[in-house]
């Protein structure tokens, strides 16, 4: 068990690819991805209905070491700035294989 930071990022689905590119650009290639995530936030994006999958959210969960945390956050912040979303960071233990 080693201590890691658990980053939970909720953003609109249209930005999925950009998040992945930004993570790759800082050499983060491991993440878990939840699609078709609903939600309601400040800007109250409505449920866009049957064709609205691009208006849904996606959630990225990224476990990284404490000293990588700042880099990851800085890589993600521009996205949060532009389109909103939520990013939570908490402490966790990673179970070694």
């Amino acid at each position: 068990m080693i201590g890691v930071k658990r980053i939970e990022l909720v953003v609109e689905a249209i930005e999925k690819q950009e998040v992945i590119s930004r993570l790759e650009s800082i050499n983060i290639r491991s993440f878990t991805l939840y699609q078709h995530v609903g939600g309601y936030g400040e800007r109250g994006i409505p449920d866009a209905g049957a064709f609205g999958e691009k208006f849904e959210n996606v959630t990225f969960v990224i476990a990284c070491s404490e000293n990588h945390l700042q880099t990851v956050i800085e890589a993600l912040r521009p996205i949060l700035k532009r389109y909103g979303g939520m990013c939570l960071v908490s402490d966790a233990k990673w179970i070694l294989h």
């Binding site: 994006i45 409505p46 866009a48 064709f51 691009k54 208006f55």
Partner: protein
Amino acid sequence: MHFESLLTPSVLFFALGMFAQLIRSDLKLPPDLIKSMTVYLLLGIGIHGGAELAHASMLEAVPALLAAFGFGLLIPLLAYWIIHHLGKLDRLNAVAIASHYGSVSAGTFLTAIAFLEAMAVPYEKYPVVMLAVMESPAILVGLLLANWVRRQDNPPEQEANQHLPVILKESFTNGSIILLAGGLLIGDMVPDNNLQAILPFFNQMFMGILCVFLLAMGMEAGKKLNDFKKAGAFLVSFGVLMPVLLGGLGVLVAHSLLGFSAGGATLVAVLVASASYIAVPPAMRIAIPEANPSLYLTLSLGVTFPFNVLLGIPLYYQMAQLLTKG
């Protein structure tokens, strides 16, 4: 014609869907079913149109294509001017909404086809090609307008342009265009006897599947109806009057410039008067994050779409008849 025309199954299914939503029934159609039907309908209309066009000369299609392209470029400008200058809505929201009206709604177009078929009115096949052509140019105009607005308001900003090529590329290769254009090509290229094997699926099922699709679309429109109040009186009137204006324009151009029959002119009117709710919303969401999606979605899906399906189509047909007879 007046009342019976509402008694086509497609219009009734649409009304059933709106009704189910208004009484808040728990009826739900799986979203993947709706997407699957969209795929089927676009392919089907494409193949059908392509097979018909195979017998026509490609040259004849040129004026229709030019008209389609012109509509796609000019409608957003006209709509922007009306919304911003008459309606006093802020500029970026005005651009986002205007862009929707320059593009098209395949669902409305298909309902119009069902309407003409039910009344046994013949129609030209070029409008199917126009449907494919009109999907994207309005998005381009929207992007340029948004950039122009931003440049007027702020010092030139770099980030704003960054997404532009991506959005443009996406709008010209979006799924609907692939399906429509692909269907047109296949219908055009494949020799008639090779096509026979797939026609039972793509032709005979068409009207039935269209009905289920319109049931679903009625529900989608019904959901958005509740957001009426948020849109405000001006925008709601815009959502009803703009299609009437555009429909008239469409009939006029189709009749006088393209020489279409009443059936074909009705279809052109529907292309011009309808607003996109599939391709344009996500494009505007990326291009203009400052704009409020519930405004453009409510208008295109909750106001203009049901107006066109229930009243607009018969109205444009009346106009077209007047003109072609007159």
